[in-house]
Each structure stands twice: as structure tokens, then as C-alpha cells.
Symmetry: C2
């Protein structure tokens, strides 16, 4: 088999066989197929797409390109969740203890901040003392002991995805449905869970800007994922404005604590309950979505989810006091306000710009390996539908890196669209794909 | 400027600016843009094409990526020729001395055998003693002295083309019109000639299989070439069966000698005169194609072209006796015949298969840098339209490398399509683009 023949086949719109796809992923991970041939192949995939069979083979080959998480020694039903990335999306920090409180095993592998979106690992590490670089043995032990884990994704799981993602990032081949499907699913298939819920974001702050695009992706993910031996369902959720009031690491920990204590904000609670309810439906524990939500809501109201969160923080070396008294979490020395330039209703609030601003203030990374400031970020004081008066504060900037504060201010000001008419507001959950 | 932005622009069908194209060629030749990004860009060009302006900028940037041949110190009108590559196409060895005899300066830079097509440098070097690795100074001196030169293309002329061609070859991006235009024209523009005729081959043995494709390429070449300051014209010529009777290095030298002595074969003579006539029209020396051909034909008949050939061979160190008595040229120790499997008319004769067979026998290279056998090749004994009887010899195989002789035999047998009806025969010159 020669890589150039496979490139030409794809270029000419001829589907590759399962064997050919396995060969090319295997040889690429072994560094025998060079990056320049893979780059040409990826661009041909961008233009030609993949058949259903190709997507399955591609995803399976990527999932099998490295180690798999083996949770078979842990009793119980293992669940997992993936989000395509949003702003203020601290759902994982809430859903993991909630599912733990519901009696499920959830050993979540997560990543760090990327572009304008935050990363669960950076957020969790904003709690003083928390360790996320757990070994496979530590993950299994903790899952056995308390049912829940949040650990950093290692490079041994689906290494093909890491290599391909880095190449796609610099070759203009990120926005390709089959490549996105392979990337998302390979990591979930190599993970230890049986039931997985996916949150496909849609809108200004998401990778998929339109509902048809987001639905197409969600449908492909569920279809291909189910075909490959695990059970998937997906929600398409709105990501036009940020979730909750916070974008930043410690700020989002505070926000998660608030939801876990039953104090909202409602959008974050709604998405978390909806995703959790899907897992209860997948497991067969409930057959009615409303009942599944109510059951989970009761676990919040009873304090069971909060208790599990404290247990999780403690198990990973975190300072429990800092979550019980969130004012002990890292906080910025300097806070600046952004004021409304005019009176009116907040008609739009760009999640993307808020995310970028939070990143500039220190919550994100401009280059890989940069340290994030746990205290930095944007705290919103108004959201879509709110009435604001001229010079009223719209947001507080928690300043980590000082040098880009003016640019962050400009972005936050631009993020708010203020007009005279009350805005139409859409649903938060846009579609359910089962 | 970031390469990934240019890739995405091309991917999305947005034309690049001249500045962007110059930047990417410049940075690529400087090895600052990595192969994997260029490969993705080339595949995006394959799918999106280039506008006229992009093709001009791309070609100009490639032409300017290295040294230029400077023939300004040589008096006279400088002409050049390019062929897109065929089988039995020994036109250069005839046209160069013919144009020299007509009083033009023709310092032709050529390449070596590639794939199923031969290379002028390998052919010329089949004459014992001939040197083709001439320095720029030697080329100028010889052009001043006798008007004609055949030298090997150096890597300093249009290095972007060499780098890009090697990358295209392994990334499935060879068959892209704008990339072909850039590759062909950049070398001609960096050459020292003012008037250039192009021979775009069309058919089974050519890169362009159909007439519309070949015409589209020829038109683009002439249009873009003329725009960039030199004068071009192009012929589209048939390459279904080989030109003449020979495919192989010394064999084609013999064939060229035969044409230069006025002894045909007629197809090779016709193409050579037609290409030469285009140059006389481009220079303004003649305004009528027929008269231009007649003038050149008289230079063959008078022996002037032959005399110039002998002068050329001598100037580059070749053994003049070996061209005056061609039986002194290298010849194979072993000759095998291929017989007709049935009686009938030769209806088709695949140039591609004959070219591949000649290559296997030793006339070509399977890998870069391999030595060719000057004596090896295929001598045809029948061509399209000829009546053959069962077990009559169709071809003689001049064996260089013994190990592949059976495969070569099979290819030559397959190359002949023999049937009961006399075949329709098309024109040799399919189109003229001026």
C-alpha cells in the first residue's frame, strides 16, 4: 500500500476500504507516513468528505491507536460526557459529582483551555491543591473508592487524535465533519465509559455556527458512536451568549459551587440536568425525561451532589475549605469595570468575545504551555434581555495579565449589543439526538 | 502573514493576492513554510483552482525563485521549446540544430527520463563522450560560438519548481492545471529565450488524455506566458502511439539522425517542422506557416541542419564518428522479438505501454539516480494502420536490464491492438494556440 495512492483515491472521491484507513492511521502514528502526505489527505477529506463506513473505520482506527482506559475493575455503570467547547461552560464540574451522587461511575478525562474556550482541567486546578495528573492506577482506585474522578487527558489515549489535531490546526483542515467525528469519538471510545452524552454547542461562541450544521454533527456522532459499540446520545445547545455569569477558572469554580448548592444560575443548571437526564435514559434507569431531571434535581436540592463534589476535591488533594468558603479561592488583585455606552436592552452578548477577553486577561493561553492565571476572567453583570442604563457596569474584569487589559475591555464592550427593543430569546436546548 | 490563513483562504475559494502568493513561494523555498502546509495548500488548489491573476503571480514567483539564464551577451534571437513529454519524442535533438541552421540561438535546458517518458539529456548522452553538465559560462560561450546548446537543467533555475514538483509527486497534486502551468512556464521564463514554442501532448501516452484538457492547458500556458513578458505559442499534438519507430536513448539518437538526413520518419519530421515554423512566425521572419515550414525543410534537405548537429555534438565533446556512422552508437548485446498473436490491422498502439516497456528494458529509471542503459529500448516494426500477419515480428526489444524482459514483452504485446478493420487515423497536430 502506498500513501500517495490513498490520497489520490480520496481526491477522486473513491471511498477507502476499512483496511486502507486502518493502514494509514497506523502508519501515521508510527511516523512512517509523513505529515505532508497526511496534510494532503486531510485537505482531500475536507473537500470529499467520508462515507459512513469510512467514518466508522477512521474513528475506530484512531480509538485503537493507543492505550484504552480500562474501568472494568470498577463496579457500576460508567458514564462520560463531552462538550464541543463553549464559554462559561463549567458543566463538567457540576455533572461529575451529580452523576456520582446518582450512583454512577464517572471518571472524566479533560483538557486545558484552547482558543476562546476554557478547559476543565485549568478550572479544577484553580482550587488550591487539586492534582489532575493521575496515573491509570490512581484513576481506577479513586473511581472504586468514590465513583468520580476528573483527570487530565494523557497522550497515551488515542494518540492519533493528538497528532492529527495538531496537523489540522495548522493546515486549515479543522472544520471537516468526518475529521471532527473521528476526533471526538476516538477519545470517548478509548475511554472507560459505556454510556456517553455529547453536548454539541451551536452559535457565535461555538465551532458550529448554525443549527443545521450542529445537528448534522450531533447526528453523525451518535450514529457512528452507537455503531462502534457504546451508547451515545447528544444535545445541541445554544452558545450565543456565555453560560452563567462567569468566564475564567476560579470564577467558574464559584459558579459550579453555586449550582451544586442549588443557587443557579438557571441556564447552567438546566444544561447540566438535561445532560444528566440523557445518561439516566441511556442506562434505562428512567424512561421519562422529566422524571430523570426531577430525580437529579432532588440530588442537588438534598445536598448529595454538593457532598460528592467536596469528596472529589478532597480525593484529589484539593483544599476543601476553599470550596466551602469560595472567597478563599484565588482572586484577582485588580478588578476593572466595563460600563454600558448607552441605555437599552442587551440584545446580544457574544460568547466568543467574552471568551477571548477572559483569555487575554490571563484565563487562557496564547501559546501552548503558557501558565494560566486561576483568578483571571470576566464576570458578567448583565445578560441578554436585561435592561441597562448608560454607564451602568456591564462586567467586571478580573485582571491577571495587565498588558492586554485595554484590548480585553474593548472586546467586552463590543460583546454587548444594546438596543431599544426587547430581544427575542431562543431555547437553550435546541435539539436532542438519540 | 500566516500560512494557515492563506491555506484557509484558498480552501474557501477566495483568490490570494499577488503579495500573498509571492510570500508563500518565497518562504517555501527558504524552507520556512513546512511541506505539510504547502501540501494542504496544493490540495486546496487542486480543488479550487486559481484565477488568471493568481496563476500569473504564482508562475512569476516560481520563475524568480532562483537564478535566471542570461543570454543577453549572445547576439541573435533566442528561442526555446518545451514538450509535456511523450514516447519516442526526440524532437529536441532535431529542432535545436535545425533552428541553429536557421540562424537562431537555441540553448536548450533539458531533463532526464521520468516515468514512461524519455529525457533529452539521457538521449543526448547516449552519444559517446557528450557532456551536458555545462556551467552558465560554458553555455554562453558555446551559444556565442555555434548558436546551439543542449545542457542539463540545473537546480539553481526555478528551484521552487523542483521542490514543489517533488512534493506534488507524493501528495496526489500533480494533475492540477494552475500547478502545471506554473511548473512549465517558470522554467521557460527563467530561461534565456524570448520566443518559446510549447508542445502539449494529448492522448494515451501523455499527461493530458483528452483534447479539451490539452487545449485548456495549452491556452493557459500561452495566455499566462505572454502576460509575463515573453512570446509563446503552442501546438497540441497527438501522443496515442509513439512518435517514429524508436523508444530508447541511442535508438532515438539514430531516429533523430535519420530525420536530420532527410530520411524520416514522417511523423517526427512533421512535428519538428511544425514547432520550428511556430518559432519563425513568432519571430516575424515569416508570416505564413507553409512558407516557414518550407524554409526549414530546405535546411534539412541542404544538409545545413545535419551539419549543425555534428557541430553541436563535437562542441559538447561527443564522438562525431558515432553520429556519422550510427552503428557505432551503443547497441544491446541481446535483442528479442515480439510477434503478432494474430493477423489483421494494427488498430491502436499504446505509447504509454511502449514507453513503460522501454523503461523496464533499461532506458528509464525506476528510482531517481538510477543509471540508464543507453542501448536499451523498443524498436517498433509496425505502427497504427499497418497490416500484420500472425507471428510476424511487431517489435524488437533491445535488452539492457535482463530481469524485467518478460514484463516488457507482455507490455509490448498488450500495446498492440490488432483487429480486422482498417483503423481511422487522426491528425498529428490537433490544435495551434497562438
Amino acid at each position: 500500500m502506498r500513501m500517495v495512492d490513498l490520497i489520490e483515491k480520496k481526491r477522486d472521491g473513491v471511498p477507502l476500504t476499512e483496511q486502507e484507513i486502518r493502514w494509514l492511521i497506523h502508519r501515521y502514528v508510527a511516523r512512517e507516513v509523513p505529515d505532508y502526505q497526511m496534510a494532503a489527505f486531510l485537505m482531500a477529506v475536507y473537500f470529499r468528505g467520508m462515507t459512513e463506513g469510512e467514518m466508522e473505520a477512521f474513528t475506530a482506527a484512531m480509538a485503537e491507536s493507543g492505550d484504552k482506559v480500562d474501568l472494568s475493575a470498577v463496579p457500576g455503570i460508567k458514564v462520560d460526557k463531552h462538550s464541543s467547547g463553549g464559554v462559561g461552560d463549567t458543566v463538567t464540574l457540576i455533572l461529575v459529582p451529580l452523576m456520582g451522587a446518582a450512583g454512577y461511575v464517572m471518571a472524566k478525562l479533560s483538557g486545558r483551555a484552547l482558543g476562546h474556550t476554557g478547559g476543565t482541567i485549568d478550572k479544577f486546578e484553580a482550587i488550591p491543591g487539586v492534582r489532575t495528573d493521575l496515573s491509570p492506577g490512581e484513576i481506577i482506585d479513586q473511581a472504586k473508592r468514590i465513583g468520580v474522578v476528573i483527570a487530565e487527558h494523557t497522550e497515551d489515549i488515542a494518540p492519533a487524535d493528538k497528532l492529527l489535531y495538531e496537523l489540522r490546526d495548522v493546515t486549515g483542515t479543522v472544520p471537516s465533519l468526518p475529521l471532527i467525528v473521528g476526533s471526538i469519538l476516538s477519545k470517548k471510545l478509548a475511554g472507560g465509559a459505556d454510556l456517553i452524552v455529547l453536548d454539541v454547542k451551536c452559535g457565535d461562541g461555538a465551532f458550529m455556527r448554525t443549527l443545521p450544521e450542529a445537528k448534522e454533527l450531533a447526528e453523525a456522532l451518535v450514529r457512528v458512536g452507537n455503531k462502534l459499540g457504546k451508547r451515545f446520545s447528544a444535545l445541541v445547545t445554544a452558545m450565543d451568549q456565555p453560560l452563567g455569569w462567569m468566564a475564567g477558572n476560579a470564577l467558574e469554580v464559584k459558579q459550579a459551587i453555586s449550582v451544586l448548592r442549588g443557587e443557579g444560575p438557571p441556564d447552567l443548571e438546566e444544561i447540566t440536568l438535561a445532560l444528566g437526564a440523557e445518561l439516566l435514559l441511556l442506562s434505562g434507569e428512567e424512561s421519562d425525561e422529566g422524571k430523570a431531571r426531577d430525580k437529579l434535581k432532588r440530588l442537588v436540592d438534598s445536598g448529595a451532589a454538593w457532598k460528592k463534589f467536596v469528596e472529589l476535591v478532597a480525593a484529589q488533594g484539593g483544599d476543601v475549605r476553599a470550596v466551602e468558603e469560595p472567597e478563599l479561592l484565588p482572586h484577582a488583585e485588580e478588578v476593572q469595570e466595563v460600563w454600558a455606552p448607552r441605555s437599552g436592552y442587551v440584545r446580544k452578548l457574544s460568547a466568543r468575545k467574552i471568551g477571548l477577553a477572559a483569555g487575554l486577561l490571563g484565563a487562557g493561553r496564547e501559546v501552548k504551555g503558557q501558565t494560566v492565571d486561576p483568578a483571571a476572567g470576566v464576570e458578567l453583570l448583565a445578560k441578554v434581555g436585561d435592561r441597562v442604563e448608560r454607564e451602568q457596569p456591564l462586567a467586571r474584569l478580573h485582571v491577571g495579565r495587565r498588558e492586554l487589559v485595554e484590548e480585553a475591555k474593548r472586546l467586552v464592550t463590543e460583546a454587548f449589543e444594546i438596543g431599544t427593543d426587547f430581544p427575542l430569546q431562543g431555547d437553550l436546548i435546541l435539539a436532542r439526538i438519540r
